[in-house]
Amino acid sequence: MNRLQKIAWYQLVVLTLWVAVIAAVAAAIYYKDLNPELLVLPLLFGVFIHFDRVFFPLRPGKIEYDERDAAIKQKAINIAYGIFYYAFVFGSLIAYLMLGPMNSVPTGVFVIMILGGAVLLRFAWSIAVIILYGINSKQKSDSDLIKV
């Protein structure tokens, strides 16, 4: 497993845990009638997503990123943005069709939409990276070749 795959797995695990914790806290707030501001606390843990470069740094003297990785990264970005855009379009259309043109939505929904979109973007990117490396799994990485 190379560095980009490790980063993708890290992001996938952290995002899944983060969303699960937020959902659990939101459920507790709803059912136990707690202060809604408590939801800010699990949101702060989202900062851990950006720690991937800390846990998986580029090591000097070792080739950990080449043209193939760059191509996979680029393709994953394209896929992730495509998923984000279509999710946004379908979400908007469903809301429009369900509520009708005369209704309105709270401004907070827009913030949730963009935060959810950002999470979806990272989630889709991670899955796309894992799948794209999986499809080409017969091509061994440099580190695997050295072991052989």
Partner: protein, 143 residues
């Protein structure tokens, strides 16, 4: 100038024209009839759609090599710029109502489709500008 640049120019011009015309139309209609009827001026944004016809207008470049590594690199960077610009637009479009109108306010559901149409146009605008910037830096070596 190659085909990609021509398409980019046509998209930038059509988008800019559509944006300027719609701003002028909305401003004039606002003083004449006020909102929400003034928002009909946004229909001028449809001019941006003319840019979508440019791949049909501009034919394939002549010559053996019409697309090389440098073109691919510029296209790749332009795609990234387009995504970043579109995401930034979506962020602003979603966050501004929250901070301007407040947490208790609500806005018409009609804004939702308008945001994603804006996102789509912004993506192509940033993509086109990034292509022009990418080739512009190359100076005379761009053909």
């Amino acid at each position: 100038m190659n085909r990609m640049q021509k398409i980019a120019w046509s998209f930038v011009i059509s988008t800019a024209l559509g944006f300027v015309c719609s701003v002028i139309a909305v401003a004039i209609l606002y003083f004449k009839v006020g909102f929400p009827r003034a928002s009909a001026g946004l229909a001028f944004l449809a001019i941006a759609g003319l840019g979508g016809l440019s791949p049909l207008i501009f034919r394939e470049d002549k010559g053996k090599v019409t697309f090389d590594e440098r073109d691919a690199f510029i296209k790749k960077n332009a795609a990234l710029a387009g995504f970043a610009g579109a995401f930034l637009f979506t962020c602003f479009a979603c966050m501004i109502p929250f901070f301007v109108l407040g947490t208790k306010a609500s806005i018409s559901v009609r804004w939702l489709p308008q945001i994603w149409i804006g996102t789509f146009v912004t993506q192509f605008f940033f993509y086109s500008v990034a292509i022009l910037v990418g080739y512009g830096r190359g100076g005379k070596e761009n053909e």
